[in-house]
Amino acid sequence: MTGRLPSATAKGKALRREIAALDIAASCESVDLWAASRDCSPAAMLWTQARLVPHLPDVVAWPENAEQVSALVRFAAERQVPVVAVGGGTGIAGGAVPVRGGIVLDTKRLVRPLRIDGERGSVDAGAGVNGKRLDELLAQERLTLGHAPASLRTATVGGWLATRSAGLLSTRYGSVADMVLSLTAVDGTGEILRTLDGPSAGPDLAQLLLGSEGTLAVFTEARLRIWPRPRERWLRALRFDSLGEALAAVREALRAGLRPAIVRLHDPLDTLLSHADPVHVPQPLKWLAEGAQAEALRLALKAPLVLNRLVDALAASSLVVLGFEADSEDDAAEEGEAALAICRRERGEDLGAAPAERWLASMHRALWRQAPLFAAGAFVETLDFATTWDRAEPLYQAVRGAAEGLALVRAHFDHAAREGCAVEVSLVGHVGAGNGEGAPVKEASAGLEEAERRLEAAAGAALSAAADEGATISHHSGVGASRQVFLRRELGEGMRQLRALKRAFDPRGILNPGKLLL
């Protein structure tokens, strides 16, 4: 569906009345339908820019507990209506976009219970609890979950569970899949599932549900592991002449048993734009980073290959930011100094703490800096691959090579583990002629089509290269709608297992249809 302003359909109005009769809040108001029609994926940003609504739900519902979620799912199953669960709407892969309409189940009122048990080291949180709020409440008790994704301020616990989210501190605390002690979810038949907090037999039910992106069950609450909040943080930035040396240094530090809270390795372009490196940033790249000088930006992005080559010609160094946490300054520094010694052996130059602190201060702003770029006529696609250490640099080179003619490519390596890491790639490209605001619907639709085609071409080239390199196509953002074309290449015969899981958990196929190739 396209149109400037969404309006309720007769079907939507009828659904709203029936859902309200279940004592569950529901709405067909334009603003609610519009808000539920998108996430933070680049495609959705293009829709917003074009003022078009390609995927409109019929109704939005706000259940307040697992029983209401169960009732809503049973209701939908009887009528064969899709149910798409959404949390903060911060996904970047279109996972919560209602591509087949139906009911958007907004989890933000699933905020009970919230029980912090410092003795036991756990917190019980509803799926709708906001990440930042949870972090603040834990901080008051000098506790932490250790989960700090870029979307912390707006994402919800349920969204984290649905995508196997990982955050800035994942090297020390793991991904959300490592934090779950037990969870409650509602399957596609409306059955409430409560996994056990303790030893259990058979395959791990919780681990099978995590990351299912709303296709197998709707999360309603989780018990998560929490830890004493470290009092001190040691930060340091280092510069390496080559990416290979930087990767080797990080790998060796982890193999030596060190557990940094923060590990971030920027490629040369990302290093230039990271605000941490003292090297002068050329003005055209500043425009790119900030979305300023729209006309110049559009012109530059029309020749992405030239831009990428320009970056190649600049002095290439790679910035590594390391952070260690502990209860005392000495303990944090002790581990940090051990890591520094390893980095020096790999020819890393210590830049001190100041660049790392500047980097940390600006890190959470990066996501929101994308809006000016879209407004200036660009798209920004962020992809997160993962692989083993031996394949990390070849993966980066392959992805860059595949996409460099279609978009400016910047990347960083993070979520480091002993065996490998994530490679996060940002593609900044030109949307084409007509995705601007204020265009008539017909022209806006044509412009949107071209913009989406360009976006898909660039992202597809990168994803295809990653798949060829044997990497996983998503480390922590999920597959959603935008990456699912490549899921079959990744899973191979595992698609049979995935479909069997779908039939077992959601026999009527109502939960988030059109995602994960299901």
Binding site: A166, D178, G211, E334
Partner: protein
């Protein structure tokens, strides 16, 4: 019998009569796939055995799938810390290969160490072991699994991924119900000298509380032992990690200052001394371990913030049965010896019994 025997012979596997059943030994993963498809097509009962696993007979009228020939270690990469190994390989053989490359699987339960890689991953521990920071993690980076129709699903080796449900978990801990593990990518730790430390505690409960506190501060040791006696208990721990072990031991010692006293007279190999008597292996929470008999001896592996795998032994006990009974009374789940293994709460206890039935109908390997 002749119909399925002919079909199995066509898979390339070696066939040997085994009581009232048949022992089938596929020489390759492809042959294994074909054999599993025959088992499923004829709805045969199935047992699976790898190198080192306890002796087993073929079920009556069914198949003992012997993975003994699937024991190749394709690679051990010390720099990346990953081994690629077939499921029939014994854990001991893999550990030897890892050691030759300067790596190790880390401390494992004795029953795990004695069995095959496939049994470890498909068994009750799901291949999990402790990793730095008070967490547990499966040793399998990913697995190649034979589905009921004989096709092979293989995941991509990555430290973490978010590509839908983690399909490896259909195999891990699954006892071969939904698929048979054919091969795995196993995470290896760098082999380093263990840093030991010992403390004297007023009781077993006090020692468990001390250990719990250390683990909750993300300083979980690689292994530990609590030895009870009439005057209290000795708590021994060892940390591993080239750069981290000494730091963690020092920090743990600081935390323990208020709870127990150092015991420098305890020999360094105290933690590694083998259990005596008739031990049982359990998966336990700290509260379970705290309730353990004041006369017991506890060896701990796979420690994490909430509990640990443990080998429990009562030197005075008449047999493992008695030891298992005490462990169960304390709330622990017995996982070895196999004859005493507790089934444990499964999907039904989570309200997912119907889901499990549908899953078995869709993916079940056996009848």
């Amino acid at each position: 019998m002749s119909a399925y025997r002919d079909d199995l012979a066509a898979t390339g596997a070696a066939l040997v009569d085994d009581g009232e059943g048949l022992r089938v030994t596929p020489p390759s993963t492809a042959s294994l796939g074909r054999a599993v498809a025959v088992v499923r097509a004829h709805r045969l009962a199935l047992h699976v055995r790898g190198n080192g696993d306890a002796p087993a007979n073929a079920p009556s009228g069914g198949i003992l799938l012997d993975l003994g020939s699937l024991d190749r270690i394709a690679s051990v990469d010390a720099a990346t810390g990953i081994a690629r190994v077939e499921a029939g390989c014994s854990v001991a053989a893999l550990e030897s290969a890892a050691r030759r490359s300067g790596c190790t699987l880390g401390p494992l339960l004795p029953s795990v160490r004695a069995g095959s890689v496939g049994a470890w991953l498909a068994g009750p521990t799901r291949g999990s072991r402790s990793v730095a920071g008070g967490r547990r993690q499966t040793a399998a980076l990913t697995v190649a699994a034979v589905l009921a129709d004989g096709r092979i699903a293989e995941g991509r080796a990555a430290p973490a991924k978010a590509v839908g449900p983690e399909l490896d978990h259909l195999a891990l801990g699954g006892s071969g119900d939904l698929c048979i593990i054919a091969a795995a990518w196993i995470r290896l730790h760098p082999a380093t000298l263990a840093m030991p430390g010992a403390w004297r505690c007023s009781s077993v409960a006090n020692a468990v509380a001390a250990l719990q506190r250390v683990c909750e501060h993300r300083l979980a040791p690689a292994r530990a032992r609590i030895h009870a006696g009439p005057d209290g208990a000795i708590l021994g721990m060892t940390w591993e990690g080239l750069e981290s072990a000494a730091m963690e031991r020092e920090r743990a010692a600081r935390i323990l200052r208020e709870i127990c006293a150092p015991a420098p007279e305890v020999p360094p190999n105290f933690v590694r001394e083998p259990p005596e008597g008739h031990p049982v292996e359990v998966d336990a929470r700290w509260a379970n371990l705290m309730a353990w008999s004041a006369l017991g001896d506890v060896h701990l592996f796979g420690l994490h913030a909430a509990g640990s795998f443990a080998v429990l032994c009562l030197p005075e006990a008449g047999g493992a049965e008695q030891c298992a009974a005490v462990a169960r009374a304390a709330g622990a789940r017995v996982i070895a010896p196999r004859r005493l293994r507790d089934a444990g709460p499964g999907w039904e206890a989570a309200g997912a019994g119907a889901v499990w039935q549908r899953l078995v109908r869709a993916l079940g390997v056996t009848a």
